[in-house]
């Protein structure tokens, strides 16, 4: 029940295309869902995050869609660029705990 399942494991997208990464969870106590971006040799950096009181959050080319009833959330990268090539992690955490549950990561490659 503590798992966050992330898919796909890897993704190749043409420049200008849309990249979509999905995560699913079971624990309804989760109330914060961040996405992290990690470049090779670097630590993960927060990209965008959402709380379950909204169904969508957009920051520039990055959008999180959140479906509370389905217990799923996804990251959409519009107009994908080669500079977006990185590993993306979703995560979930519940109030009163500090423990993030991370997905296993998606390696995105955007072809020029």
């Amino acid at each position: 029940q503590q798992q966050v399942k992330q898919s796909p494991q890897s993704l190749i997208v043409q420049k200008g295309g849309i990249s979509i990464i999905n995560c699913a969870y079971e624990n309804t106590a989760f109330d914060y869902f961040p996405w992290y971006q990690q470049f090779p040799g670097k630590g993960p950096a927060l990209l965008i995050a959402i709380r379950p009181d909204v169904s969508e959050k957009k920051e520039g080319r990055f959008t999180i869609s959140f479906n509370k009833s389905a217990k799923q959330f996804s990251l959409h990268i519009m107009d994908s660029q080669p500079g977006d090539s990185a590993t993306y992690f979703c995560a979930a955490v519940s109030s009163g705990t500090y423990k993030y549950i991370f997905g296993t990561g998606t390696r995105l490659k955007v072809l020029a």
Binding site: F30, D31, Y32, P34, Y36, G41, K42, G43, P44, A45, L46, A49, R51, F89, V93, S94, S95, G96, Y98, K99, Y100, F102, G103, T104, G105
Partner: protein, 114 residues
């Protein structure tokens, strides 16, 4: 900007050595975390600390210990390094809050145990 720094980017140690990895954050965060990252396994929590001298085991604490003597500093100790502890080690920090808060990560330490 939150800054989390780790003492080394790369370390090479021999089996049986005692290894210290240090992490410092400059945002007065209450919570600090140590993860290891391995291909295909994502990030796994080793230990976390919610206050000075306080610590809790994460998912994979075996073979590791931690120390938090000052709020800004969190150390990970490998008592007797083994080859299966070769990995990328990531430190993170976050505020103490009622709801989930963003964790800020350091650049990581890539440890090779020979």
């Amino acid at each position: 900007d939150v800054k989390v720094t780790q003492s080394s980017r790369y370390l090479v140690k021999r089996t049986g050595e005692k290894v210290f990895l240090e992490c410092v954050q400059d945002m007065d965060h209450e919570n600090m975390f140590w993860y290891r990252q391995d291909p295909g396994l994502g990030l796994r929590l080793i230990y976390f600390s919610y206050d000075v001298k306080m610590k809790e085991k994460g998912d994979i604490p075996e073979g590791y210990s931690v120390s938090r003597e000052k709020k800004e500093r969190f150390s990970l100790i490998l008592e007797s390094a083994s080859t299966n502890q070769t990995s990328m080690y990531l430190c993170a920090s976050s505020r103490l809050a009622e709801q989930g808060e963003t964790q800020y990560f350091g650049p990581g330490t890539r440890l090779l145990v020979l």
